[in-house]
Amino acid sequence: MRSNKSYNKQLALLTAALLVCFLLNISLGSIRIPINEIVSGLYGSAENKTWQIIIQDFRLPKAITAILVGSGLGVSGLLMQTLFRNPLAGPFVLGISSGASLGVALVILGSGLFGGILATYLVSKWSIVIAASIGSLLVLIAVLAVSSKVRDTMAILIIGLMFGSITAAIVSVLSYFSTAEQLQQYIFWGFGSLSNLSWNELTIFFGLYVIGILLAIFSIKDLNSLLLGDNYAKSLGLNLKQSRMVIILSTSIIAGTITAFAGPIAFIGLAIPHLTRQIIKTSNHRVLLPAVCLYGSIVMLICDSIAQLPASDYILPINAITALIGAPVVIWLLVRQRKMMF
């Protein structure tokens, strides 16, 4: 088919663009490293030892994190938008990030309750990752339990929002009783961060990400049936409850892991599927899913490069950059096309 070929061509172009962005992202930073040095640096044979360390221990893990976060959030946003037939849905509509926030809030803000010595011990990097994971996992279990009972898919959406409200309320109460330093630390977590992941952390991150993405790939056929609506999907032999379960599980694993390791990164999950649909004009998930992965990675790498403020020592919060850069792009695309593709 002619159209299939043009999709393949677009995907190939995107892959090339991703590669360029990847190299540029590693090259740019407080110190600029020439592209040809990066390639040898990736093989562990850069001439300059400092560059070697910067590439190996900082920029490469950061760039990989950006790719995982961007593609992961894009995919989970896409799954939620199709499942809930709602263009406003994103990876966090199920309350995943609220759950993670609650976990982190309990550790950072609630540490006062556990006493001084314990507090400093608790607020380490891993404890935040674990707290965020447990938080999002609990919400995930609650949502899955509810979704196996509820027949209407829309009800799950509302229930997810309600979970979000509950956790937000608890966080408010906790903040009310917290010190300024604790609040600042909590807010900084909320900015999101792609850096500071060690290779060990990245391995765990990657493992969970792969599980989530595999589940998403197995859902492609079901997602396409769901484009027709629940009743048509059922008439095509789809087991609605089961595939809904798999889709929610996939989203939760991906979005939960990302929030645990990189913080609650907003906007990308909502915007990337729209951006992709505006450019690759189809809802067919066999094309859309890989395209969303590629676009998500590219956008995240670009946002990260900007957040690093090349040739300066400042790093801006990634969460602000994604929306600052991304929102105008989506607005521009929607205005130009004059029609929302969904």
Binding site: R2, I220, K221, S225, L226, Y232, G237, K281, S283
Partner: protein
């Protein structure tokens, strides 16, 4: 013509309605009919009489209250959804979640019950899809996006999708709503042609009683008193249509087989 007598779908003492936690609301009961291979069947009745409930029960969206429905000699309850998808396809009035698919992609979704885990189309799948497009006369629309189509064109696409599912029965819920007079006749004529051509049993609900009388092999008429299934000419001579609506506004004219506004 023995083949044409094969009973594809039948109901015995069927009651339809809604089950809630504590009570059940029966909309219609004592429904008995047999639908044969290659027939075009029109389901008519006043608003709120339970046409949609009946169709939704047949397509297994709603549970049977009592009695049973048999498809190809198998009780509907015992047919799992994957098997049912190969025996019964549907065209509904509800809007699609997304119309951002090409006509070909949408019709190809009808092959889902037969394709592998990721939905790869084999050559024979592609042939069936192309054939469905041809049967409905929309081969030229193949690469168009669904949101670019008119209501009439889109209805044809949905019929082609049901054909591509390659089932013995196609159930359509009010396929002629939102269409102009010409396209109403066109769609029903097309259904008649498809039933003859493909040997599929096509059941549709409609408010176009006049057209249905002219085109259907069999009609199911739902009134408050009973659900009657017979050939249109028998239904007319038995005066069934006269009891369809209150007589203060419209009445049925046996001679022309159509409704007239009372003067």
């Amino acid at each position: 013509m023995v083949e044409n007598e094969t009973i594809i779908l039948s109901t015995t003492n069927l009651a339809i309605g809604y089950l809630t936690n504590r009570s059940k609301l029966v909309v219609a009961s004592d429904i008995n009919f047999e639908l044969k291979k290659g027939q075009l069947i029109g389901l008519v009745g006043a608003n709120g009489i339970g046409k949609s409930t009946l169709l939704r029960t047949i397509i297994k969206v709603q549970p049977v209250i009592s009695g049973n429905i048999t498809i190809n000699n198998q009780d509907l309850i015992s047919i799992d959804s994957t098997d049912l998808a190969k025996q019964l396809s549907i065209v509904l009035t509800e809007q699609l979640t997304s119309k951002n698919l090409s006509v070909y992609e949408l019709v190809a979704l009808g092959r889902h019950p037969y394709t592998n885990w990721i939905g790869n189309l084999t050559t024979s799948d592609e042939n069936i899809v192309n054939n469905a497009l041809k049967l409905v006369n929309i081969s030229d629309l193949k690469d168009k996006k669904c949101f670019e189509l008119s209501d009439g064109q889109f209805q044809k696409v949905m019929i082609a999708r049901a054909l591509a599912q390659d089932t013995d029965i196609i159930v359509l819920d009010e396929p002629t709503t939102h269409l102009d007079m010409y396209h109403k006749a066109y769609i029903l004529k097309l259904l008649q042609h498809l039933a003859k051509e493909t040997g599929k049993t096509i059941l549709f609900s409609s408010h176009e009683i006049d057209l249905a009388i002219q085109l259907c092999d069999t009609m199911i008429v739902m009134t408050k008193e009973a659900v009657i299934c017979d050939q249109p000419c028998n239904l007319i001579s038995n005066g069934v249509f006269e009891s369809l609506f209150p007589k203060d506004l419209i009445s049925f004219d046996n001679a022309t087989g159509s409704f007239r506004v009372s003067k």
